[in-house]
Amino acid sequence: MDKPFAITLDPGSSLANKTGSWRTMRPVYVDRLPPCNAQCPAGEDIQGWLYHAESGDYETAWRQLVRDNPFPAIMGRVCYHTCESVCNRGKLDEPVGINSVERFLGDEAITRGWRFEPPAADSGKRVLVVGAGPSGMSAAYHLRRLGHRVTVYEAGPLMGGMMRFGIPQYRLPRDVLDAEMQRIVDLGAEVRLNSKVKRIEEMMAEFDAAFLAVGAHIGKRAFIPAKDGSRILDAVSVLRSMEGEEKPMLGRRVVVYGGGNTAIDVARTARRLGATEAIIVYRRTREKMPAHDFEVEEALQEGVMVKWLSTIKQQGADGDAGALTIEKMELDEKGFPQPTGEFETLEADSLVLALGQDVDLSLLDGVPGLELKDGVVQVDPATMMAGRAGLFAGGDMVPAERNVTVAVGHGKKAARHIDAWLRGTRYAPPPKHELASFERLNTWYYSDAPKTMRPQLDLARRTGSFDEVQGGLTEDNALFEARRCLSCGNCFECDNCYGVCPDNAVIKLGPGQRFQFNYDYCKGCGICVAECPCGAIEMVAEEV
């Protein structure tokens, strides 16, 4: 008789009573789309890679990340991380420092020498990529992983495109840039430097498809009446010459005209080159400035000055070559700046124009079927294909917001469609899950914790050198930061459903396997849905 202590009879078990028949609603496990993932222009599975980082498995996290974006160390420095502004945790305390964890993972990969998994079997197809910037190299990476042979033509002497010639070193150290570029070369992408493509149509015969990703390297000009000998430069040229042997000569008083991130970059660069005064002249107010506010703030901390509501009317008034005539502006009711007729004079050794950039589209001459509008190529937004079959484009060349992350996203998207096109199919993106909104979370279960701030270099040290301004996270606080993720809409195996079911109707499948409902006994009370921290269960009506 093998019975527990004091048991002599076999009782009938209540398992005979299938209480599942009481149910009118049933709980179902779902995955919802976290807002960070929905927001990411590069389509990263942020919640997915944070999940691995949370358990300290940084290599798996990195591998999950680079499935979508091969540049975590670069992203962790230059991405404007709009993911963080939509992070649900922001409604609790502060958003998860996604960008800083990404950077930590990227830096770990460089330190530890992690390499990409080898590409898929050779497809025998050849793809031309024009431009070794973020978009081109992202496309090269994804195409290479899909098994295609990739040749990248780069007009400049080094890889990186605008990341090298447009982003100052204090925001993106060049060894980081080089390391992440080289990793793609190591994957087997052929990169030809100093090789400008003059006529794309002539090259198309050699390749099965092409992806164009030429950056906006031409600074826009504004008509400012000026005397001979006055010193007017454009911002892109100034930033580009920072990469060469001869640093630009800007003088002690530098005036930058414009209000975008490039204007800020140039002003901060001027300070680092020794300018005692770097003055930004912008025609509207700080609230209206297109530059990101954190960069404005850092620039102001470094001593950059800004003349708000001002335009430059003339250079070299009254025979003084360095004198700029400034007109004060005021905002009208619609928020547009209007001239006031009030003038003042500003002395400057040089004037740098940061009024936007254009793309050199001359390589497209003679391509049939293309549509050019507002200085960019029109592409099918679903596939990134331009009017000519087999010709795709992305990054600064196409109508979109211009930043590194968007460009990287274009590269990935185009690569998928190029791959499908080469195989004679169409790439159909998987259906998107429903958004994991804040209202679906049960935030009781999350403890409160402050965001770890990236240590900033001392102001004095920062303005005097091109050292990186933002410091990185240590392993301790990277882990801390990753663990602040709420895992919105995706089960993270907290065991709540398993624990709170009054009917033991949740089956735990073991680590990594999540859970299953036992509908024989589930009465459909809905406690599991109410108490799921991350909103990964929903109630659906039973068919009657």
């Binding site: 078990s13 009573n17 209480t19 907290c494 009370c525």
Partner: protein
């Protein structure tokens, strides 16, 4: 009792967590939990008592390596778990009468003593009716004799099994079938109340504690602590009842959480008559948020409603907060 939390996603608020070390996870997170009350029981959807009893008995089973006998009072817990010829219990379980669970527990403990079985431990359990009213004399006797039994009271604040009649644990102003929401003072009268945990403490027995189904780690810790001691011990668990409270079946745990966060149900621990620990309120909220989720209080909020009664209930909660120091010192009371 609480290991330091090196984890910030959910801390130890959740049942388990892949990032916590196994000893920091709850018994309920384990695949090896004993599931003392098996599936197929006939409790209503979202039953707080079925949940509370499984939490407590599973924790006790782990604490004593499964060598446990339970005596059970009449009530929902007994009726829904053992309709002849089925039982949901996966441990030796004895039901006798409504009012004598404590005495049956005493008898089992005495028998084990005679047999020299020191390894087998005893619990007695019942609802608030079987504990605070009908079984009160036996329970007080068990305390006074300091018999080696842990008594578990699952308090759902009325006689739910027989169709929701008022017990001495029914809160003021609540509607039951014997305290209808009519007349100038609708619902259960504002009497003196009968706070059994405090009465148990007055016996100066080794251990008295309160808990709710909303804080699993706390409940399990208290059961484990109780099972590490001998003599008479008492654990009073608040278990919301969707049927009797007129609440959504999905809100069972939420209601228990709100009862604690409003101060209506103070969660504390006491040894030998002295309070040794209280669970602090994490996010204080007014009692109205708790009351509005329950139809048994609906008459307080209709037109014209009874704002003076809501204020009186708030005053009771505030008194608990003050009396048991339920807020951190940094927060104003």
């Amino acid at each position: 009792m609480n290991a330091s939390i090196k984890f910030y996603q959910t801390g130890t608020f959740t049942v388990g967590n892949r990032l916590l070390s196994p000893e920091q996870r709850s018994v309920q997170a384990s695949l090896e939990r004993s599931n003392a009350i098996n599936s197929g029981h006939r409790a209503c959807q979202g039953c707080g008592e079925a949940l509370g009893a499984r939490y407590a008995v599973d924790a006790a089973m782990r604490a004593v390596n499964g060598q446990l006998i339970a005596a059970n009072a009449t009530g929902c817990l007994e009726v829904f778990s053992t309709p002849y010829p089925e039982t949901s219990w996966q441990l030796p379980w004895i039901h006798s009468l409504f009012g004598n669970a404590a005495a049956v527990g005493t008898g089992i403990a005495a028998a084990l003593k005679v047999k020299g079985r020191q390894d087998v431990r005893v619990i007695a359990q019942g609802g608030d009716g079987g504990t605070t009213d009908i079984g009160f004399g036996c329970l007080s006797g068990m305390f006074e004799r300091n018999d080696d039994v842990l008594y578990l009271c699952y308090d759902n604040e009325a006689y739910m099994n027989t169709g929701v009649q008022r017990s001495s644990a029914t809160p003021h102003a609540a509607r039951t079938n014997t305290t209808m929401p009519v007349g100038p003072e609708p619902g259960a009268p504002f009497g003196q109340g009968k706070k059994l945990p405090l009465i148990a403490m007055a016996h100066e027995i080794p251990y008295v504690a309160t808990a709710t189904v909303a804080d699993l780690h706390d409940l399990e810790n208290k059961v484990e602590r109780a099972m590490s001691m001998h003599g008479a011990r008492y654990l009073h668990v608040l278990v919301p009842c969707p049927l009797g409270w007129g609440a959504d079946s999905a809100d069972t745990i939420k209601l228990a959480r709100l009862a604690r966060e409003t101060g209506i149900f103070p969660v504390l621990e006491a040894e030998r008559g002295e309070v040794t620990a209280v669970s602090k309120i994490r996010r204080r909220i007014p009692v109205e948020e708790y009351l509005r989720l329950q139809k048994r209080f609906a008459h307080l909020f209709g037109k014209p409603g009874h704002p003076e009664m809501v204020a009186a209930i708030q005053a009771e909660a505030d008194r608990n907060i003050c009396r048991f120091k339920l807020l951190d010192k940094t927060e104003a009371v």
